[in-house]
């Protein structure tokens, strides 16, 4: 299947570039760590408070760490002219967007989700909440990347578009945040079951998977047309 091998080549290319120029997974995790580390200074060292707020803190940290640098998702390709070549390619721009989002998630969202138990310890997160929280982040971070991709597409030709992108994207990420934190809290303190908010979180991710590549591709065509 030539289209599939084209897209997997693109994913591999983005992973290789991310590993060579740095600023990908490692920096995202360090940023995540810094956010988690400064929160207890603001909230205070009360362990019960920290444990209660831990899912929310970890989710907000993951949200910001994912968005951080996402403005470069298409901009880097725009600056060196690769985006022009993508637009002339046979592979649909929507799927190119999807492949780039997948590569971005592999280098940011996934490592963040996997590192969460470690950072949860710093916030006195109960042991039995670790796995549910990892699950919510693993399922929810793709939605953040995809929604962020729309913002990155709109701001692709702006040199200092990072903040504007965040302003555009954060309101759209609210459902993901609500259901993500809701599911994690449900696993710790109840009273609802973990399943209900988790399935809704899954639903936001799946609908982002359909809508966001279309919206991002349309935005790229519009901005550059």
């Amino acid at each position: 299947m030539p289209l599939l091998s084209a897209l997997s080549a693109l994913v591999r290319r983005d992973l290789v570039i991310a590993s060579r120029i740095g600023g990908g997974a490692e920096l995202g995790i360090v940023f995540f760590l810094s956010l988690v580390a400064i929160v207890p200074f603001a909230i205070g060292p009360d362990q019960n408070t920290l444990a209660r707020l831990a899912p929310a803190i970890l989710w907000i940290a993951a949200l910001l760490a994912t968005l951080f640098g996402l403005d470069r998702l298409f901009q880097a390709d725009e600056e060196d002219g690769v985006l022009d070549q993508f637009m002339l390619a046979e592979a649909p721009l929507e799927l190119i967007v999807l492949a780039k989002c997948f590569a971005h998630w592999l280098t940011t969202g996934l490592p963040l989700a996997l590192m969460t138990p470690l950072f949860g310890l710093m916030l006195n997160l109960p042991a039995d909440a670790m796995l549910p929280l990892v699950a919510t982040l693993a399922v929810g971070t793709p939605a953040i990347t995809l929604i962020g991709a729309v913002g990155a597409a709109v701001t692709v030709s702006l040199r200092r578009g990072g903040l504007l992108m965040a302003v555009l994207v954060l309101p759209l990420a609210v459902p993901t945040l609500i259901f993500g934190v809701g599911a994690a809290n449900a696993a710790i303190i109840g009273p609802t079951t973990f399943g209900t908010p988790f399935l809704l979180l899954l639903a936001t991710t799946l609908s982002s998977l359909v809508i966001c590549p279309l919206a991002a591709a349309a935005a790229i065509r519009l901005v550059r047309g």
Binding site: S5, G81, D84, Q85, L88
Partner: protein
């Protein structure tokens, strides 16, 4: 490859911001013919090429191809070599060729070496594009387009950054080959392409244009 192919532009106009760059631009290019676009900086040469590639929309006018080898959209019949090389600084020449051949769906594990030879880049195969010279980057960018044959080439200042020897041995030869195969080449240029029998579209600073036989 492309008998009877025809690129037809009718009353194209281009605006940049509020400014009208050109209007009433019509031409028909038949297979095997080349057009060079000349004029001062800012008259709309690059904008015209981007419109022809489908990367930008004209303010008015239509653009179509007749007798294309397939019914794909115009942009998939086009190679566009713009001012930006389309290279990733972190990837080597060999990795660029490997990625784009997979991306275009052509199997070129053996052809990779042949391509490096065509581009006169055998010595630089494993050098990241970021440290190649601008002439070498230009050749590599051109080579990526050569991986998959497309009938229409749109070249923005193809001779830029190339030394006189490479202009003659590389760019002129490839353009002549493309025309001999029945392709169409449109190039904006300030320098002679070294290929006989081209047409010229000359833009005047006031936005008017004339067609003539290229003397370059």
């Amino acid at each position: 490859m492309t008998r009877d192919l025809c690129l037809i532009a009718e009353t194209l106009a281009c605006e940049k911001g509020e400014r009208l760059l050109f209007r009433d631009l019509s031409f028909t290019l038949e297979h095997g013919s080349g057009l060079i676009v000349t004029g001062q900086n800012g008259v709309g040469k690059t904008s015209l090429l981007r419109i022809l590639a489908g990367l930008a929309l004209p303010a008015s006018g239509t653009l179509r191809i007749a007798n294309a080898p397939s019914d794909k959209p115009l942009s998939e019949h086009v190679h566009f070599l713009g001012g930006k090389d389309g290279l990733k600084a972190a990837l080597t020449a060999r990795e660029h060729i490997a990625f784009w051949s997979r991306f275009y769906g052509v199997q070129t594990d053996s052809a990779c070496e042949a391509m490096l030879q065509t581009l006169f880049l055998e010595q630089q195969a494993n050098v990241p594009a970021g440290v190649l010279s601008s002439g070498q980057r230009r050749r590599l960018a051109f080579g990526l387009a050569l991986l998959v044959p497309r009938p229409i080439w749109l070249l923005d200042e193809p001779m830029n950054a190339l030394d006189p020897e490479m202009r003659e041995r590389f760019m002129s030869v490839l353009i002549a080959q493309q025309l001999a195969k029945g392709g169409i080449v449109i190039a904006s240029t300030h320098l002679p392409l070294g290929v006989p029998g081209l047409h010229e579209l000359a833009f005047a600073p006031d936005g008017t244009h004339i067609f003539k036989r290229a003397v370059l």
